[in-house]
């Protein structure tokens, strides 16, 4: 009974919305809004063929490469800048400025510097995604519990071991918050870089459909992007649960106390 109720909560509203959509498109012959059935049909037709290899997978590859590189650069740079006080004071205003530049404007800039290549698209993603991770890591490293920090000094834990067992774990909640922002930003930048300058990829395909007024195909592309976003959010939640298990446990204990 309880699982049935939960299932109702899970599927009730989505089913209701689809029903409304179906009922609304049943009579009218609106050019812009396809019926659910035709959308599903087009979706299977367009995306479950060779497009997976020519458009979807390359896009996902660029996205993954960009986001992962941004995370690595952000965490390494953040730990470095966060642990050295004068370096932080030196770089903070400049970094704040770079973070404030809306990342999409980097697309034309990097297009100019690097030409329209795969590398340029990955660099666009990196240069947009690195800031949330970097700045959050700096904040996290700076906020390491001073008592723990002193204890590790007293025990003679230095260098790599200190970073591995003290700095990274205590900064990880903030790092994950940054990674979360980066992932959604990365998806946006992937689409924009392909819409703006590309001859393949998801963003390009969707714009092409729109320009040729293939409306159901365009909608199916929007659905693909949506699914990609939802998939990334699932991967992130799974990773966060594993990496921050200790943190959530600690929070629970603190809240209960």
């Amino acid at each position: 009974m309880k699982t049935l109720k939960n299932l109702g909560y899970l599927l009730g509203l989505p089913l209701l919305l689809i029903l409304i959509w179906w009922a609304a498109t049943l009579e009218s012959d609106n050019f812009f809004v396809p019926t659910p059935a035709s959308l599903v049909e087009t979706f299977a037709q367009v995306w479950l063929g060779e497009r997976v290899f020519t458009d979807v997978l390359p896009s996902i590859g660029r996205l993954a490469a960009g986001v992962l590189a941004a995370i690595v650069i952000g965490v390494v740079g953040g730990v470095l800048i966060g642990s050295v006080r004068w370096l932080r004071a030196l770089l903070e205003p400049t970094l704040e400025f770079f973070r404030a530049i809306p990342p999409p404007v980097l697309v034309p800039v990097l297009m100019l510097l690097m030409g329209i290549t795969d590398t340029m698209k990955v660099v666009v993603i990196i240069s947009g995604c690195v800031w949330p991770v970097l700045l959050n890591t700096i904040e996290g490293v700076r906020a390491v519990d001073p008592v723990l920090s002193d204890s590790t000094h007293t025990y003679g834990i230095n260098g790599w071991a200190r970073i591995r067992y003290l700095v990274l774990p205590s900064a990880s909640p903030q790092i994950m918050a940054g990674v979360r922002q980066s992932m959604s930003l990365g998806l946006i930048l992937m689409v924009i870089s392909e819409m703006f300058a590309s001859s393949s990829g998801l963003g390009f395909a969707i714009v092409q459909f729109q320009r040729s007024f293939s409306i159901p195909e365009m909608w199916s592309g929007i659905v693909v992007l949506g699914l990609l976003g939802v998939g990334m959010s699932f991967i992130f939640q799974w990773a966060e649960r594993h990496i921050l298990r200790w943190y959530h446990g600690q929070k629970e204990v603190e809240n209960a106390a």
Partner: protein, 280 residues
Amino acid sequence: MSSKTLTSGAAAPNVERQHRQARKAPTKQLLGLAGILGFLLTWELIPRLGIIDPAYLPPASEVIAALLVDFGLTAFWVAVYETMKAWFLGLLMAVAAAVVLGFIIGSSNFLRKATNSTIEFLRPIPSVALIPLAVLMFGVKIESSLLLIVYACFWQVLIQVLYGVADVDMVANNTARTYGLGRMARIRYVVFPTALPYLMTGVRLAGSVALVLAITAELVIGSPGLGREIALAQSGGAISGMYALVLATGLIGVLINLMMRFIEKKTLAWHSSVRSEVLV
């Protein structure tokens, strides 16, 4: 965390800390200034030494000069006005919708459970996926920008409001009920103050997201504003003009961040998270 260590400490060390910080503050600002100057110097030298062709990366002095020229042009300020108009209207609509819906959904257990799966599904959909739709529906008008901005910011704020409403202290709520406060009065005096810090965080985040999407819409779709000017400058080969506009968007971003932090501080001046910051 820092608030805990601060409030447990006696008053004397606080005073001492303030003195130490007052002495250290100028050094910190000087270092920050040195960082900016160092960055500009590196930027100046890279094209001058020929590491990157100046045709693609003009030296900093040239770009800053172009930016100063822009400051004197009406067309530049019109573009800034268009961008900021889309930013403000989009943010306003998103926040209004998210606050109303957030309070309605958040205060009912049934609605919260029933909408959870839909919200979690719709939220991660990147708003740029709506670009083709915006082009078809509105063309190169401000409505295109607004569609993207509202969609992206709405979820950002809604989630925060939902967290905030869920965070209401049951004891406070029950006390208010015992004293005979009605539903509206409880929302006004108990739920709203609890949710306000969350709401302000959401609005601050949404503020920078809105700028990103305003610029994106202008860049990709071509609705009026700074983004379109950047695309035009790039395709027209006005390279230092393009870099100047990129700098301008960065400056607008910094201003928005500062403004949002200021508003947050003002509206939450009574809240302990802000009050303890004053001590530091």
